[in-house]
């Protein structure tokens, strides 16, 4: 097996010579798409050409432009327009991050087309059709009933195939394999979508947000302490490894491992390796938990959403698992004649995750303070400082909050003739949210080389993860989700 070099300064978060970091770039890209979509409020349709995919029996039914204003483009035209627009905007983003723009553009071309092709395949009626009525519509007598969002799983599997069977190709496209960037853009857009969903049921939405506090208590105070203890006492890991590992497993995957690794002055390579494990296990969770939720929590939809936010690590996997869970549970209920309003399960998963993210900086500071003052006592210059809380704050959350409150204002605070257009306008932005989800899933797959788990020496790291995640985190997350969200159901679709 070839021996990979892990460069200690190669972490995306450690670059200091860029105009913007990835978090801020995600905020700007997400807000850019959101603002373009809002032009539809004054009857200027700027992004209606974005491609959307429907469940299909004949390929001709698969693709179309989001808005009827751009119907003349046809499905393939809309797909090409979407590719070109994303290529231009994301290449500009790559330039801002001081990446090699040409390499990024070539890599993104491969990432986009493979990921979107996987999504289209996932929307094939034999995979996606759910109800007997749908099967009849497509003239089929069986389907896997994965729903159209099962297309995310296809994108993930395509990425996994590349990571595990075509590693050289995976290496060649790595410049555009950026799951953290893609999911952050998606979450910024999601804020507006969630606002429109919440506008009709503000009391319920505020109840859900208040219950998000329980998630913070669980992730930081309970999960972290237990996982850190397991890693140190049972598996004998040093403090430098145990703290980022506990943060990755218990809080929020990659972001937390990197933030805490930096705060306790661990070598960057520790966080990089822990992050790669986090991604691999997030893939395992995404492939299992939404289907478990559909089987056992179909009548407790918000418990299922909260569970995804608490149990699945990394923002991308958690929010996307919320999307798949929503789709699977809505379909199962629809088959029983109960039609819930979409958006609530995904919104619950995302809210829980965002609440957890908000406190990463504070938790990293607390640990940094303890480490630099009591464990590895450092010079005064290198001690943890309050400003690190802001430096480690995930800035994309600012974008989520902005789009949420702007969306809420537009839906509730504007004259009726404007307010009635808000769902359609934000729906156009939501088309891009779906596309960024697809790119996220594919990218997570490409980063998930399962050989890591079999490498001698790293098995112990993986063992801590397995014991903590499947022996504790998943089940305590389920218990707490049940405690706080059982009996609360989404509104019925009108």
């Amino acid at each position: 097996m070839s021996d990979t070099t892990l460069n200690a300064v190669g972490s995306p978060r450690t670059a200091t010579n860029t105009l913007l970091n990835e978090d801020w770039l995600a905020v700007f890209l997400g807000l850019f798409i959101f603002v373009l979509a809002l032009a539809a409020l004054v009857h200027v349709d700027l992004i209606g050409w974005a491609v959307t995919t429907s469940v299909w029996g004949n390929f001709g039914q698969a693709l179309k432009a989001t808005s009827k204003d751009y119907a003349a483009l046809g499905g393939i035209g809309a797909l090409i327009a979407t590719y070109v627009a994303l290529l231009v905007v994301l290449s500009a983003g790559a330039a801002v991050l001081r990446s090699d723009v040409k390499r990024f553009a070539l890599a993104f071309t491969a990432v986009f087309w493979i990921a979107y092709a996987s999504w289209i395949i996932g929307n094939f009626a034999h995979f996606a059709a759910v109800t007997p009525a749908e099967q009849q519509k497509f003239g089929i007598n069986w389907s896997l009933k994965l729903t159209n969002e099962g297309g995310y799983i296809f994108a993930l599997i395509a990425g996994l195939i590349i990571a595990n069977f075509l590693p050289r190709f995976g290496e060649a496209i790595k410049d555009a394999v950026r799951p953290e960037l893609y999911i952050k853009v998606a979450i910024v857009i999601l804020g507006g979508f969630f606002a429109v969903t919440a506008a009709g049921k503000l009391n319920l939405a505020s109840s859900l947000i208040l219950r998000g506090v329980a998630a913070i208590v669980e992730a930081y105070l309970i999960y972290w302490a237990v996982v850190y203890f397991i890693a140190r006492k049972w598996f004998g890991f040093s403090r430098e490894w145990a703290a980022p590992l506990a943060s990755g497993i218990s809080i929020c995957g990659v972001s937390a491992a990197i933030a805490v690794g930096g705060a306790i002055r661990a070598r960057p390579v520790v966080a990089v390796l822990v992050s790669s494990l986090v991604v691999i296990f997030a893939v395992v969770e995404v492939l299992i938990l939404p289907f478990v939720a559909q089987a056992f929590l179909a009548h407790e939809p918000l418990v299922a959403g909260a569970w995804m936010g608490l149990a699945v690590k990394t923002d991308g996997a958690a929010v996307a698992a919320g999307g798949i869970t929503e789709s699977l549970i809505l379909a199962k209920n629809a088959a029983e004649g109960v039609h819930y309003q979409p958006g609530w399960i995904l919104g619950t998963a995302a809210t829980i995750k965002v609440f957890i993210d908000i406190f990463i900086g504070i938790w990293a500071f607390v640990l940094g303070y303890i480490w630099t003052n009591h464990i590895n006592v450092t010079d005064a210059d290198d001690k943890a400082k309050l400003r690190e809380i802001w430096e480690r704050f995930p800035k994309f959350i600012i974008g989520f909050v902005i789009t949420f409150f702007v969306g809420l204002y537009l839906a509730l605070g504007t004259p009726a003739d404007i307010a009635k257009n808000v769902p359609a306008a934000i729906g156009e932005a939501n088309t891009f949210r779906v596309i960024f989800f697809i790119l996220t899933f594919f990218s997570i797959g490409v980063l998930s080389n399962f050989k890591t788990l079999w490498q001698e020496g790293f098995g112990r790291l993986a063992a801590v993860y397995v014991v903590s995640l499947f022996g504790f985190v998943v089940w305590v997350g389920l218990l707490i989700s049940w405690l706080f969200f059982s009996g609360i159901t989404p509104p019925l679709a009108s």
Binding site: D3, T4, T5, L6, N7, A8, V9, K201, N203, L204, S207, L208, R211, V213, A214, V217, E218, Y220, L221, I222, W224, A225, V226, Y228, F229, R232, K233, G236, F237, S238, R239, W241, R267, V269, L273, I370, H374, I375, Q455, E456, G457, F458, R460, L461, I480, L483, F484, G487, I488, P491
Partner: protein, 55 residues
């Protein structure tokens, strides 16, 4: 200066790393964290029970 590590370096390090016993400050961190977490969780559960979600 850029440091670089190979996977075999790290494997070796993980295998040979001496056991670091839990320091009193770590025990305190774990105990306080768990205690505050459980107390807050019980408080929130009670709050959730007496102030149920409004539809």
């Amino acid at each position: 200066m850029a440091e670089s590590y190979t996977r075999s370096d790290l494997r070796e390090e993980l295998r040979r790393a001496p056991v670091e016993p839990l320091l009193p400050i770590e025990k305190k961190l774990i105990a306080w964290s768990l205690s505050i977490g459980l107390v807050l969780l019980v408080g929130l559960a009670l709050l959730n029970h007496y102030v149920p979600a409004t539809f």
